[in-house]
Subunit: 542 residues, 2 copies
């Protein structure tokens, strides 16, 4: 039984009832309202949680800040993993697996690193429980205290570099191009499903090189891999650039990021790639005999993306009906909804549905037939739409008569100049059977491109090249904000002051080739007046 049919609606009802009891405004009565998705314009944060709930992507768990990734959400992660992993392998990387635990003393070896991570990690201090004397359960057994506490990895540089020390003696042992898929824990204060959770899943690449040049090339190569994945698979436009010194990864010499714009205009950091120089090699004494026979410290990079990308996907594409999944990341591409009144009609419609399913599966597509009893077609449409399935095929007696299929798209984007009638028949097309089946993949490709274009258009509308402080304040306080391209030549301290004052941050200093019209070239820093060679992107962010 497919996960998408198996999950109950009652929890959603309970949650909505709880919401009603908490006094949140809801229209009264009716099943539809209990599963209502708050419109984005009404409350964007609640909209996001409603979309996640209706699409059954994740739940909060019994453990603070930790989520349960439900089958529908995990299916997206699996597809992302497969796409990313293929790209990692294609660029010469291999996977390995390092320990979950890191001795506390290891974390201390790289000074900036421990500064950055010591404040928020899960610490293991004992290794056994014992029965409570009152028989009411179990408790920590004090006799099992560890000699040295262990932390649960917040990121794996320290445990990995201590292993690399054993593996590297000469330039012949380089480069090491290793990635790991793993869970990490950072004891976050504020958490948000997918966007920021105490435990999250990710991949972390850790590479070791002979030269700075090669390490820097790797840093940029992986950023480009991330861009390609974000734009061509997730359909999410991103800006590649360098983080400011104050925002660098703790222990890095340079941090690059890809930044995406969510539908509330806020930025979401979608991935990072770091040039670590020789910092970790120095901290862990990892040297190699170079080609001239001299001992040198190794050059390092690290790079990662996480389940946060699912949050980016949800926020970028979903609408007030619910989730929208780009076809390249969908497990189910087509849901078939049979329509019938009598048992005789049902039998004929089911036969056709099975045949269509088989033909589409033979094309390599993911297909589900919604055969649930006692649920009206309209309710089924809404159910699958809220779950983000790209296409719906409706099959009823009329379609059998006409030898046609009704193909309904989850969404259409605005085409300038297109009249409403034309748009409607793009959204829901009645096509001859053979033509419909032959066109499904083309339609899905079109929808994938449409999603990217729509996101690009949206970002363009909320992108501004800004040259005065008044404009800047007005942009964020009165015009809904977005990405502000401004000149910057301040110090990290000044950066913090500005961030606090405007509740915005410098997302990155974009690399060449991404500057909007009128945004190229030098100019005076918006906040300090000092000369700046190129603009940075500032925005409110997650």
């Amino acid at each position: 039984m497919s996960d998408q049919a198996a999950e109950p609606q009652k929890k959603q009802k309970q949650q909505n009832q709880q919401n009603q009891q908490k006094g949140q405004q809801q229209k009264g009565g009716g099943k539809q309202d209990e599963r209502r998705i708050t419109p984005r314009a009404e409350d964007y944060s609640r909209w996001y949680l409603d979309v996640v709930r209706e699409a059954q992507l994740a739940d909060h768990s019994a453990v603070r800040g930790c989520m349960v990734i439900r089958p529908n959400g995990y299916a997206i992660w699996e597809k992302m993993q497969r796409e990313l992993d293929a790209r990692f392998k294609a660029t010469g990387h291999v996977n390995a697996y390092f320990p979950l635990f890191i001795p506390v003393s290891f974390l201390s070896k790289e000074a900036q690193h421990v500064e950055g991570f010591a404040k928020e990690c899960a610490v293991v201090t004992h290794h056994r429980l014992r029965a409570k004397s009152d028989g009411s359960g179990v408790e920590v057994d004090p006799e099992s205290k560890l000699e040295e506490p262990l932390i649960v990895r917040p990121t794996s540089e320290t445990i990995i570099w201590s292993a690399y020390k054993e593996w590297i003696q000469s330039y012949r042992d380089l480069p090491i191009l290793i990635n790991q898929w793993a869970n990490v824990v950072r004891w976050e204060m504020r958490t948000r499903l997918f966007l920021r959770t105490a435990e999250f899943l990710w991949q972390e690449g850790h590479t070791a090189h002979e030269t700075e040049k090669e390490a820097l090339e790797e840093t940029h190569l992986m950023l480009e891999v991330y861009r390609d994945f974000a734009e061509n698979v997730m359909a999410v436009p991103v800006i590649r650039g360098a983080k400011t010194p104050g925002e660098r990864f703790a222990g890095a010499l340079e941090s690059l990021s890809i930044e995406a714009m969510m539908q509330d205009g806020r930025a979401l950091q979608a991935g990072t790639s770091h040039y670590l120089g020789q910092n970790f090699a120095r901290a862990f004494d990892v040297t190699f005999q170079n080609r001239e026979g001299k001992r040198e410290l190794v050059y390092a990079t690290s790079w990662g993306v996480s389940t946060r990308l699912i949050g980016a996907l949800i926020m970028t594409h979903s609408d007030d009906t619910g989730l929208i999944i780009p076809p390249k990341l969908a497990t189910t591409h087509v849901v078939i909804v049979p329509i019938y009144k009598t048992d005789e009609e049902k039998a004929r419609v089911y036969t056709e549905a099975d045949a269509v399913e088989a033909e589409l599966k033979a094309q390599g597509l993911g297909v589900v037939i919604d055969k649930r009893e006692g649920l009206a077609p309209g309710a089924k449409y809404y159910d699958w739409e809220s779950k983000g399935v790209p296409l719906r095929i409706e099959i009823g007696p009329k379609d059998l008569e006409n030898g046609s299929l009704c193909v309904a798209r989850r969404f259409v984007i605005e085409i300038p100049g297109e009249d409403e009638k034309a748009q409607r028949s793009r959204k829901k097309a009645f096509l001859p059977r053979a033509e419909a089946l032959a066109k499904i993949k083309t339609i899905l490709d079109e929808m994938q491109k449409d999603l990217f274009q729509r996101a690009l258009n949206f970002r363009a509308k909320k992108t501004r090249v800004i040259n005065t402080l008044e404009e800047y304040e007005k942009f964020f306080k009165e015009e809904g904000g977005g990405f502000a391209w401004v000149h910057w030549a301040g110090t990290p301290e000044e950066e913090e002051v500005i961030a606090k004052k405007y509740q915005t941050s410098i997302r990155n200093a974009p690399l060449d080739g991404q500057f909007p019209e009128g945004g190229e070239g030098a100019g005076p820093c918006l906040f300090t007046g000092r000369p700046s060679a190129r603009r940075v992107v500032m925005a409110e962010s997650y």
Copy 2:
């Protein structure tokens, strides 16, 4: 750069030097001896560690009992995951992800379960570190003590069933067929790379059903999935059967296992599938409205295999030259070794090597050309053989002249009646180029079947139907042991006594269709004389 060429030999040299210092007997001098694999007949335990080391599968890490799975080892795990996951999906399961942490109080809810696992888990008691006052590093911040300690999951029943409670209200919500791929931690006292580590990777399936019948069917279905994987992908013969009450999973009503025989005759439990009845549903108050409108407790199963399977694979097939990987789990199927004396020969040989590589890759095979400089062909042969690569193609000037390729198999099995010359030309065949390329896949299939047959033959030789105590003692003390099929009708207490006395254990009570000649039917218990309906398998074990 492929992982198999990148890893250095120096650590191995260092370890061997350490071994020599520790006084272990090694032949003196020479590079070959520093990387020597202890023969199985000399010291089986050391042989296993040597194989793992030479094939660069895993290392001990800086954390007690935890291993680093190196790229070569992880590549095997990835292939296993892909094969298993496809089978899980084919039987209607979907993947999800539940939290790493479990509140201590959750563990206590199921009485037998906490008994089983409380003794050996990693306990998180704090969530922050602070700088030591002497500036020498960081320490646990006492201010960050958690209200309720968390344990790192030793298995996820408790956290999963607390989530299922939210998801299940009626029979329409059933069955839930969920699996998760994750890491778990059990604070083991004695650890062995892959076979028993504190942290290990696994998959755990947790299903919820309307009826006991359906849950029992699922329990058996998954055991059969495991058997199919073990025998048809890993080429490891297994015996499916029921564990004794004393050996059941803590909280289960029935535990089924697949048991494999390693080359020292000892048994290795390769996978388990448990029928949990309503125990966890009761402990977590998970009920559903059944089809008759009555409230019932849900019926549950759980099943899992882990990175222990890699240990089973190593131990079952490897020889004194090193690792042997069954073709179905190999990432590299063919290594091409170019042979040349002059630069002119090198150029011609490399051209042919590139062409052969391309043609084999086009067939979907994994291929590597060993272009390392300064390493004699013989050393390359040994290197790739110790890493378990199934086939080697040698290309030298003579082969170019003859339009042929030399195809060498990693191993051949004994064919009764075959003379030595014939066996040698099976192991290393000189074939016309086109024929060689056309035959590679067939040869790999043959080798896959050969591995399974060899393991079957070995197990058969070390399997005995035993009817007297004298035979039993002689079998294990003088004849090298193996699988003893004996009658059993003892109590769990008697089972423990026997286990201590003979250092053997009851592996399982095999299901129908697997009994050896003379082993079917009833008889008196070997140890107590009471009537027994069917034999069990007893063996020394890991």
